[in-house]
């Protein structure tokens, strides 16, 4: 195992025991994510992309295979606070201000008051929400709330950012804007990002590595190393390279028989 492997999965499987019998959510997932990668997981509902992300976060425990995060088990990595997690919904506490929400992980992790304040200011600036620290979540738009939740995940400086369809509920214009900002943020912070989506353009635009998944049972259908440069203006989406990658993703999705049934 090389030093650079942030995430290494070998034969990872997860079978849920339900009252209707076992459900195989994931089978034989092999994946290697290197430091600084931006990895997208794409596939139809039920392909196990969110489940795999939750395995990385040790919110689920695989029933087969081996999984290491930062060279340790996923559970140990969770306890070491190795990652920040951004959920589908912003999930900000309505009784805390934006600043208070970002401070939440810092309070839990025992940062000093001065350091909390300094970090809150820093990440608010990072997600372009400077000056909104004293507002309550309901005073912000959906896109701003989601940015605040990203700031919350960044506040404690974990090297890994796990994002579960963070922009899924937002409209396309806001989404484009946030994608652009996310790339800028990734460039500035050098984090390793795992990003779940079901939008092909979003996956291709953001990622250095695209993991195409297919359902029943959830498995990896294709892993595409993106040939696109790391710096990507929005109009890169009209370039032939972009279209070629998008095409391959679509083929991968189709090959997984994801739309047959």
């Amino acid at each position: 195992m090389s030093v650079d492997a942030v995430i290494e999965a070998k034969g990872v499987g997860l079978t849920f025991q339900t009252s209707d019998g076992p459900v195989r959510a994931l089978t034989e997932v092999d994946l290697r994510v290197e430091k600084g990668d931006f990895v997208s997981f794409i596939g139809p509902s039920g392909c196990g992309k969110t489940t795999f992300l939750r395995c990385l976060a040790a919110l689920e425990t695989p029933t087969a295979g081996s999984l290491t995060v930062n060279g340790m088990s996923a559970e140990a990595a969770r306890q070491a606070r190795a990652y920040g997690y951004v959920f589908q919904a912003a999930g900000l506490y309505p009784w805390r201000t934006i600043g208070g929400n970002i401070r939440l992980p810092l309070e839990i992790m025992g940062f000093s008051k001065a350091e909390q304040a300094e970090r809150v200011e820093r990440v608010l600036e990072l997600v372009d929400l400077k000056g909104f620290g004293r507002k309550y979540p309901w005073q912000l738009s959906g896109g701003m709330q989601q940015r605040a939740s990203i700031a919350r995940a960044l506040a404690f400086d974990a090297d890994i950012l796990l994002m579960d369809e963070p922009f899924g509920a937002l409209d396309e214009i806001v989404r484009d804007h946030l994608n652009e900002q996310l790339l800028a943020l990734w460039a500035r912070t050098q984090k390793t990002i795992c990003f779940v989506t079901h939008s092909i353009p979003e996956a291709v635009y953001l990622s250095t590595k695209i993991v195409v998944m297919s359902p029943r049972p959830g498995r990896i259908a294709d892993v595409i190393e993106s040939p696109l440069p790391r710096t990507r203006p929005l109009d890169i989406r009209d370039s032939p390279e972009f279209i070629a990658v998008a095409h391959r993703v679509r083929d991968g999705l189709r090959a997984g028989h994801s739309y047959d049934d």
Partner: protein, 297 residues
């Protein structure tokens, strides 16, 4: 004015109905009196007479108000044992009884709310308590309080506990239940995502309780406190029924022994005012607390 007008209309309707019912219910006595005296009376004599009986079946509102005034303001300012002449509240007036009842209610409410929160936290965090406590809590509330209150008081008295505490225990007995139910619901109100979020921070159970579950439960908490404080007042009054001394419950029982219907009604009105005041006080705190938490209550 827009907020006051509907309230006044409702109060007016209740008063009108009350007067009508007073006439209807007190007429028989007037007729019996007239029959015994051998005179015949018409409605013109009966209706005014029903308004000023000494022991009416249903006293008219103005009689109750006059009694209330007499037993509070007049008694304290002019009575020999009143506040002005003796320096302490008169034991013939209603204020001392109201005060005794309120203090037992508050003590019982504090005990009940505290116990309720304790049980709710236990139910949410402890599997054994989750499985076992709720049926007992429900069973405790199915026992008629009138049946169990005198027994608790007698038992406590025999071990030397008297005064405020036995009454407060009855009040707590009634008020812990809504707090348990509301707080269990409130502590469980955070969704799976918010709990997962704390897991990703590797937060301890205590941090989860203080930073997520308690704040999230506040709206439920205050709703249950409002029910709880009213139940606490009822508990205290019921507990006072078999007791001598002071208290609205004692006063109610005395009134019914001697057929003092006007006095009973005056006492009931005081109890109602107290209940409204207590619930209002909880509401006041609720608006302040939730307001400071950025919520619109």
């Amino acid at each position: 004015m827009k907020r006051v007008a509907p309230v006044l209309v409702v109060v007016g309707c209740i008063l009108a109905l009350w007067y009508v019912m007073a006439v209807v219910m007190n007429t028989q006595w007037e007729r019996d009196q007239a029959g015994r005296a051998g005179v015949s009376v018409g409605w013109a004599q009966i209706v005014p007479a029903t308004m000023r009986q000494e022991r009416p079946v249903l006293p008219a509102p103005h009689q109750v108000v006059a009694e209330l005034w007499q037993l509070t303001w007049v008694e304290e300012t002019e009575g020999r044992r009143g506040l002005v002449n003796s320096g302490s509240l008169s034991n013939r007036g209603l204020l001392i009884h109201a005060w005794v009842t309120v203090s037992a209610t508050m003590l019982g409410f504090a005990m009940g709310a505290g116990f309720g929160i304790f049980l709710a936290v236990g139910i949410v965090y402890n599997r054994a308590m989750d499985a076992s406590v709720m049926p007992w809590a429900i069973a405790s509330q199915t026992i008629p309080i009138v049946a169990i209150a005198p027994m608790i008081i007698v038992v406590l008295n025999s071990v030397g506990v008297a005064g405020l505490l036995p009454k407060a225990i009855i009040a707590a007995y009634l008020s812990f239940f809504p707090v348990v139910v509301g707080m269990v619901k409130g502590l469980r109100s955070p969704d799976a995502m918010q709990l997962d979020l704390l897991r990703t921070y590797n937060a301890s159970a205590g941090q989860g309780l203080w930073k997520l579950r308690f704040p999230a439960s506040m709206p439920y908490f205050f709703a249950s406190l409002k029910v709880g404080i009213a139940a606490s007042l009822v508990g205290t009054i019921v507990a006072e029924l078999p007791l001598g001394g002071a208290g609205l419950g004692t006063r109610l029982l005395a009134g019914s022994y001697y057929g003092q219907t006007i006095q009973i009604w005056a006492t009931l009105i005081v109890a109602a005012i107290l209940a409204a005041g207590l619930v209002g006080a909880v509401g006041f705190v609720q608006v302040r607390v939730l307001g400071r938490m950025g919520m619109r209550a």
